[in-house]
Every structure is written in structure tokens, then in C-alpha cells.
């Protein structure tokens, strides 16, 4: 039986603007939370539900991701008092937030549930160190891991370094250009009351910080923090009843990958990252292009990751990332500000979700900063981006989030301001 035209799901256009992020929430960003991941996750979920103006009983779907360092949905749902019609806890890190939003839309389209809460809870500093020190560093090395970890090639920074190094070789990218990613993101963090590190850094400070693993200095690497983050996704139709003008999801690409994920350096160019493939799904799904985007959250586990993604998603030409991130474009007040909360380099490390939360608040025109509070309890944004001032992007309509698992796998999402 042929389907009526309006249910043709073979076109990405079908789902454009049909789902929204109606609530976002997080714990404080800290080191030494003194709480279990269960308690942190519950805290973030309660904040997201309250932000959406929902009741816990409105949540009937739950998704989470972790590297066996979190508490599963079953416990979280119990703690907030939600009865679930669907849940799933996935393995994964930095490419997960956008991918799981895509999955949430899929299961709602399939009729499995109506409102999905997605969370990531982690004690990334006080329990399972994200940088790989502590218990993980002394773990046994079995089978396929012999081809990397046996060589002292284990942490994320070590794993990605051949791509970063080769990019400098292939394109002449300079350390002082890459350092500008940290400089700019730290400027943004200085106007974010929630940021773990609020200090503004200079290029010299980045380049004179100690070398961790060439080409990475300490200040090229993200912060390790304890925190939980949560977002709530439901249909745009249901979102109309909520408190906010909820941002609408235009398009998503999830865990799009380069060839040979078993050891992706077998395929080149190794200075190319997954965005090279993901862009051809993201932009057609969104019906928009890089030129339409007002602000970007480009995964900054390292300065390099942010820069490389801007190239391969088409914000600048391949090889010109160093020039792009040091041109002023990425600053608040520039043409396309980037990581306006300070991102993973400064605000907190959450495996990507804080940068989605930030873009949701940017699109609501309601980020928290140091602007004077109005009578309605909202910041009266001044758009003066000097230290201790504003970080709201003026008249922002469209954002992009570029999630990164590793050079070979990425996820991304485009949102637009709600109507």
C-alpha cells in the first residue's frame, strides 16, 4: 500500500523542526563532588525537568551514555519518580549527545515514547579520571589493545596526537594559531558564572604551559571535572505548552565515521576528521549551511579538535583552520562565536552535553552572565563582551554543535530559535 506523501520519511526534510529541546539542566561544575554519579544525575535531571516546566511523570523515555563510569537510567528514573516506556544506556563519550538526540527522535517517531530525558553523569576528576590517570592507567592490556596501549599510547590526547601533528605537517599550522582556541574560549568562560576556570589566558601562557604530549601543552587540554548534565527532547507540538521558546532541531548526524575504526590511521589523510563525511548528512538534513550558523559549539577536548572540525564541516577551507580560529571570527562579537560558555577547555568536561545546553540557552536569548538582572529575573544583556560582562550572542537564530569521539568519529546537530 503506497504511503501518503506527507509520511515519506525517506527525506530528511520530514523531521526538520519537528522536535525540540524543551529543558536543560546541570549540576555545579566541580572537582570533588562528594556525590555518587547517581546523586549527580538525579540532580541534573530534576533541574532539566524544572527548567522545562514539566513533571517527572511527563518523562517516559530515558537515554544515557558513559564509559562504565555512570549510573544507569533504571536508577535515575526511580530516583526522580518517572515510569519509563523506553530506556537505553549506551557506551560512548564525546560523539554521544547529538547521536542520542537523534535516537530519541527516532524512538518517538516509532511511537515508543513521547518525552525523552538524556543525561551524562560523571565524576571525571574524583573517580574515573578522564585524562586516563589513576586506576585506568594500570589496567591490564589484552588482545587488540596490544597494538596501542603497550606503547604508552593510551589517553585521548596521546591517541589523537598523530592527527594533530600531521595537520601541522600537511598545512603548516602553527602552535600560536592553535593556542588561540584556548585564548578565545577562556575569554568566553570569564563571563560565565558557572565555568570551572574563569581566567583569561594569552597565547604566551598557553605555549609556555608544560608539554603533556607534543603537540599538546597543558592548556591545550580540557579540564577534568565532576558533574552531570541533562536535556529533555520532545515533539515541537508538545513543546508549545512549555515555558520557553524551545529551540527546534533542524538536523542531526550521529557517530558518522571514517574508514577503519579498528585503527583509523590506516586510512588517510589522517589530518582529515569525521566531519568530512558528516557534513554531507548534517547540512542537507538541516536545510542550512555553515554560512547560516550564528554560533558553534565545536568539541574542545583539545584546542586542535575544535579547529579541525571547523575545517571539515566547511566553516573554512581544509588546512585554514589555524587562520580561522585566530582571525577573531570565533570571538563573542565576531561573526560566528564559538564555545560561548568556555566549552570543555574552561567551563567543564561533560562529554559534549554542556555545549548543547549552552546553545539551547543562547537560542532562548537567555544565557547566564554578569549582565544586570531585570525585574523579570532575566539578564538584561548588554552585548559588552569585556571581562566580567556579557556572553549572549545578539539576535542569534541558528547554532551548530560538532561532537567529537576521536578523529574518525563525530556527531553534529543544527538547532534554530523556537517560534
Amino acid at each position: 500500500m503506497p504511503l501518503p506523501a506527507d509520511t515519506d520519511v525517506s527525506t530528511p526534510k520530514f523531521l526538520r523542526d519537528k522536535y525540540a529541546i524543551v529543558g536543560v539542566g546541570e549540576t555545579t561544575y566541580t572537582r570533588g563532588s562528594g556525590k555518587t554519579t547517581r546523586a549527580l544525575g538525579t540532580w541534573a535531571l530534576r533541574n532539566a525537568i524544572a527548567d522545562a516546566g514539566l513533571k517527572a511523570s511527563d518523562i517516559d523515555g530515558m537515554l544515557s551514555y558513559s564509559g562504565n563510569d555512570s549510573t544507569p537510567s533504571t536508577f535515575m528514573a526511580g530516583d526522580i519518580g518517572a515510569r519509563l516506556n523506553f530506556y537505553m544506556d549506551c557506551m560512548g563519550g564525546g560523539s554521544s549527545t547529538e547521536a542520542l538526540i537523534g535516537i530519541a527522535i527516532g524512538v518517538m517517531e516509532a511511537g515508543l515514547c513521547k518525552c525523552v530525558a538524556i543525561f551524562r553523569s560523571m565524576n571525571g576528576f574524583s573517580q574515573v579520571r578522564i585524562g586516563g590517570t589513576g586506576a585506568r592507567s594500570a589496567a591490564p592490556v589484552n588482545g587488540d589493545m596490544l597494538h596501542n596501549r603497550a606503547y604508552g599510547w593510551q589517553s585521548a590526547g596521546q591517541n589523537f596526537a598523530p592527527t594533530f601533528m600531521r595537520h601541522m605537517y600537511d598545512y603548516g599550522t602553527k602552535p600560536e594559531q592553535v593556542a588561540m582556541v584556548k585564548v578565545v574560549h577562556s575569554e568566553h568562560a570569564s563571563n560565565n558564572p558557572k565555568a570551572y576556570y574563569k581566567k583569561r589566558f594569552t597565547v604566551d601562557e598557553v605555549l609556555s604551559s608544560r608539554i603533556i604530549c607534543k603537540p599538546l601543552h597543558l592548556l591545550d587540554c580540557c579540564v577534568e571535572t565532576d558533574n552531570a548534565t541533562a536535556i529533555i527532547v520532545t515533539s515541537a507540538e508538545r513543546a508549545k505548552d512549555q515555558r520557553h521558546k524551545s529551540p527546534l532541531i533542524r538536523g542531526i548526524v550521529g557517530r558518522c565515521s571514517k574508514p577503519r575504526l579498528d585503527m583509523h590511521y590506516q586510512h588517510g589523510p589522517i589530518s582529515r576528521v569525521a566531519g568530512y563525511y558528516a557534513k554531507d548528512i548534517l547540512w542537507p538534513n538541516a536545510g542550512l549551511g555553515p554560512e547560516d550558523v550564528d554560533a558553534v559549539g565545536a568539541y574542545d577536548a583539545f584546542t586542535f579538535t575544535s579547529m579541525l572540525q571547523m575545517e571539515d564541516y566547511g566553516f573554512c577551507k581544509k588546512g585554514e583552520g589555524g587562520e580561522y580560529v585566530s582571525s577573531g571570527i570565533t570571538r563573542l562579537g565576531g561573526k560566528r562565536p564559538q564555545n560561548t560558555s568556555g566549552g570543555h577547555l574552561c567551563e567543564a568536561y561533560t562529554h559534549g552535553m554542556n555545549m548543547v545546553i549552552e546553545n539551547v540557552r543562547q537560542l532562548r536569548h537567555d544565557v547566564d552572565d554578569y549582565c544586570p538582572m531585570g525585574p523579570d529575573g532575566k539578564r538584561q544583556h548588554t552585548f559588552d563582551y569585556r571581562e566580567g560582562g556579557c556572553r549572549q550572542v545578539k539576535d542569534i537564530e541558528v547554532t551548530a554543535n560538532l561532537g567529537w569521539a576521536n578523529p574518525a568519529t563525530g556527531s553534529a546537530m543544527v538547532m534554530r530559535r523556537g517560534t
Binding site: 587488540d144 596490544l146 590511521y265
Partner: protein
């Protein structure tokens, strides 16, 4: 039979069902470098897999491959994560593109084999040697013995090769 050994303070092991890695490291223990050559498309692959990444052929034959090539990319670790590596810093992890099968099956492909920069006896290279190696340096394979049935392929400077005048290194020393 599973393989077990201790190396650099780490417990290394290969499960008895993991025939691909057992075969790979058994050759290494004999100081020979063998890779799987696909019986269908005749392409060689690294690291070991259970089917051909180029044609998905299920059968392969372990074939001797020359352990020679040039550094394709590298990292230089100053802050080690694994405890026993702290005494070896700064150490290099090299990604070496073999001369064998370079640019095949597509121009962007190559057999890029990981290893530390070591002396010919498999011991870690000293800091003054680390400083001389970068992208383009010609290297040859040597082995670090770990246990019966297990040695790790490593890379040492190829003394007989013509070296680039100045291999590319990260600009800040």
C-alpha cells in the same frame, strides 16, 4: 593457549580464542614481521583483523612483510599516563608507513605500524636521539621481547638508509 606476560609494569595478555593476535605476536616473538594477506584480493592489512577490511574476504595467509618505512606521524610524550612509562619520558610513539603497499588500495591508504622509538636491542631511545627523529625519518623494525609467544614490534633509526636532511618536528623543542 592464551599468552601472558609482564611489560613496563603492565599485564599483557592474549586470549586463547584470539587466534589472529596469537599468530601475529608469535611471529614477533620469533623476530619476524608477518601480516595477514587476503586470499581473495591479495592486499595486506594491519593490525590483525578477522576479515579483509578492503574486500571482506574471510581467508588470509600470514605473509612475511619487510619491516622498513618512514615516520608518517608521531607523538612525543612528556607527561606519561602509565606509571612505568614515566621513567622513559620523553618517549616517542611512531606511526610508520611501510614501504610495502604504500598508497594502496587508494592513494590515501598505507600500512601504518605503531611502535616506540627504540635502540636496536628494543630498549627505549634516549632523549638526545628522540630529538633527531620526526616525520620522514627512515626506520627499521626491531623487537622488544616480553614472554614466550609475545614480543612487541618497535622502530629504530635505519642506519643504512639515506635520511632526510631535516625530518619534520614539532616547532617547539
Amino acid at each position: 593457549m592464551s599468552v601472558k606476560g609482564d611489560y613496563m609494569g603492565m599485564a599483557l595478555s592474549i586470549d586463547d580464542l584470539d587466534g589472529e593476535n596469537i599468530s601475529y605476536f608469535k611471529h614477533c616473538a620469533e623476530h619476524q614481521f608477518h601480516l595477514q594477506k587476503c586470499d581473495d584480493c591479495a592486499l595486506v592489512r594491519y593490525p590483525p583483523t578477522t576479515a579483509c577490511p578492503f574486500c571482506s574476504g574471510g581467508n588470509a595467509t600470514w605473509t612475511a612483510v619487510e619491516g622498513k618505512g618512514a615516520v608518517y606521524s608521531y607523538l612525543e610524550v612528556h607527561h606519561a599516563i602509565q606509571p612505568a612509562f614515566k621513567a622513559k619520558t620523553p618517549y616517542l610513539v611512531l606511526l610508520v608507513e611501510l614501504d610495502t603497499q604504500q598508497g594502496q588500495p587508494t592513494p590515501d591508504d598505507g600500512l601504518r605500524v605503531a611502535g616506540n622509538l627504540t635502540l636496536p636491542n628494543g630498549e627505549f631511545a634516549l632523549p638526545e636521539v628522540v630529538k633527531t627523529v620526526g616525520i620522514g625519518t627512515r626506520v627499521r623494525m626491531v623487537f622488544s621481547d616480553v614472554a614466550e609467544g609475545l614480543a612487541l614490534p618497535q622502530w629504530t633509526i635505519d642506519e643504512t638508509a639515506t635520511q632526510p636532511a631535516k625530518p619534520w618536528r614539532y616547532p617547539q623543542e
